[in-house]
Amino acid sequence: MNTLANIALRNLTRQKKRTVLLGSAIAFGVMIVTLINGFAGAFSANVAENFSDLMAGHVFVSGSEKGEGDKTLSVIRDDSALTAAVEASGAPVRYVTRRSSFAGTLIFEGKKLQTNVDGADLSQETFLRDRLLLKEGSWDSMSDENALILSEKIASRLNVDVGDLILVQLETVTGQANVGEFRLAGVSYDAGIFGQMMSYANLGYVNSLIGLAPDEYQTMGIMLDGLKHTDAAAEAIYGRLYGGVQLFERGVKDEDGAVTPFQALMRQQKKESWEGVKYRLFTINEVLSQIEQIVAALDTTAGVILVVLFVIIMVGITNTFSMVIFERIGEIGTMRALGVHRGGVRSMFLYEALFLALGGAVAGIALALVAMGVISLFDFGMDSPAFIIMRNGHLSFFLPPLRAAANVLIIALLTLVAVASPAGKAAKLTPAEALRTQK
């Protein structure tokens, strides 16, 4: 066995140019696939982490209060029980935020645009200034009660400049029509499709517009030491709240199972009836569970690319090994004449293919890791349109070890399949037939 493996290795080194070319083809395919896998691996974590910063939390609690006529109001009036539960949970909490929000129509000089506006206590949420860079205006102007920060895209579509007064038409939490007036304090760099989510105003003013008292709010955000603590912290806080306050059940699935856990939670709210306030606890992972579908799509794409590339490479490998066998037909005859069995000849070629595949795959992964390292050095800045998928303005990658191992396994198997036919033909040759064949 060892002898055959050694001969296979020696054969590979005998034809360095051919081996390098075949190995490079395999390495290139593996590198591309590994890069996509690495990007997909970091994609969901980066998006979730960036969204955590924008939404100011990894774990969220919102209140649903039954008002007049069994109507549901989104409000937290007294958060003492929530605060106590967060403290008692032992979760690694960096800070707690309180926000209200509404979906309304911004109106400026005949132009209208639907958007969401988040009301934040900017004296507390100082980190938002670091995360959301302004292209125009200043965060200091947010000291004005009715100041507003809009994303570049929304500001451009409304054709507003810093200092302009913008009307906003919205509904209060009880569903009554209301109108407010914002003064544009700043324009943030565009965040692509997420621009709609990045309008910020002062919590007090948003509360006055939606009909809440200054000390009330709609959602408590709990920012943890990192995304990895999210699920454990959510469980711990939920456990502390359970029994003390009315809570919506977590992790429910809709009957058809076709909704995200967050949507299922919202549907559950419509079906249930209660009195007073009932709290809903959810996590950034649940809100962004559809991101997982994007990751799955990326991984599927990588898989398809892997297969397509290797079908092409397999054809090359099959042809190359057919030629190699023809070139070495005399050698095969000699080996067979010296007592090497048919299986030995077949194994020798399969070993060659296996070593070639492993060498190419390892080189491909190494190249991909180097490329990832180099790409991640580039600072695209927090003003990049794609900042939501980056980590602090840098493209980042995470290659799950099992996925890399699976790729190597697939490539090894495909290469063995590609070589199986020529190796089989070589094994079937009789010593006499091989020795008398003229090249």
């Binding site: 109106i107 209208k112 569903g175 009554q176 029509a177 209301n178 109108v179």
Partner: protein
Amino acid sequence: MKRFIGAAVLALLAAAPAAFAQDARAMLAELDRQGDFAGKDFAALYTIVSQKPGEKDSVTQVRMFRRDDREQFTMLVMLPEVNKGQGYLREDDNVWFYDPTSRKFSFSSIKENIQNSEAKNSDLTKRSILDDYEVAGTTEGFVGKIAVWVIDLRARTKDVSYERIVLHVRKDRTMLLKQEDYSVSGRLMRTTLYPKYVELEGRLMPSQMLIVDELNPGERSQMTMTEQSLAPLPDKVFTKAFLEQVNK
């Protein structure tokens, strides 16, 4: 004697607002009666022409069926062609929207605008001004050359879209000529003019309404009511099945 006169004047001053409020309430009760078809079914075709700056005028046509006894209504969209077959159904306190493309019902609201116009579902349904609002003040004024009572109303309930409305009611005959709708913050959002009425079995129904969006200059909708009828309607008209069937 002086004391007696003084007391009488004070009593009159104190009683005056109450009397005004009483009169205003009577006017509101009459307005409610005019729009209430209790004991009968009501059907009409409404054509809404909406104007928006820089856009072609859009025409929306809806057929409205009302059964005020049970606070039910069914509204069927006839125009534009692309939305034909869409409908609204009020059952108890729920308003459902039916989309024939997806063949699904979804929650809607009486406060929603009809298609892309300035008119709301609630503009076509039975009103209960007395139940929903209380009189905050009454003054005199004019709409054009017509003398009117200007009745300032504040919402009693959060179920209505507007926290404050101001009604301009003809003095010589209880007929609403103009309505102003204000936001919670006190800003004028919408003005509705009622230039034409038709009489329907002793009740006055506005046959034309001009709704002006005060927040978006130049945006307005003119609503015209035709083919009004008080003939009995089959019960099935007020069911989800009806909206589904008319699309088959």
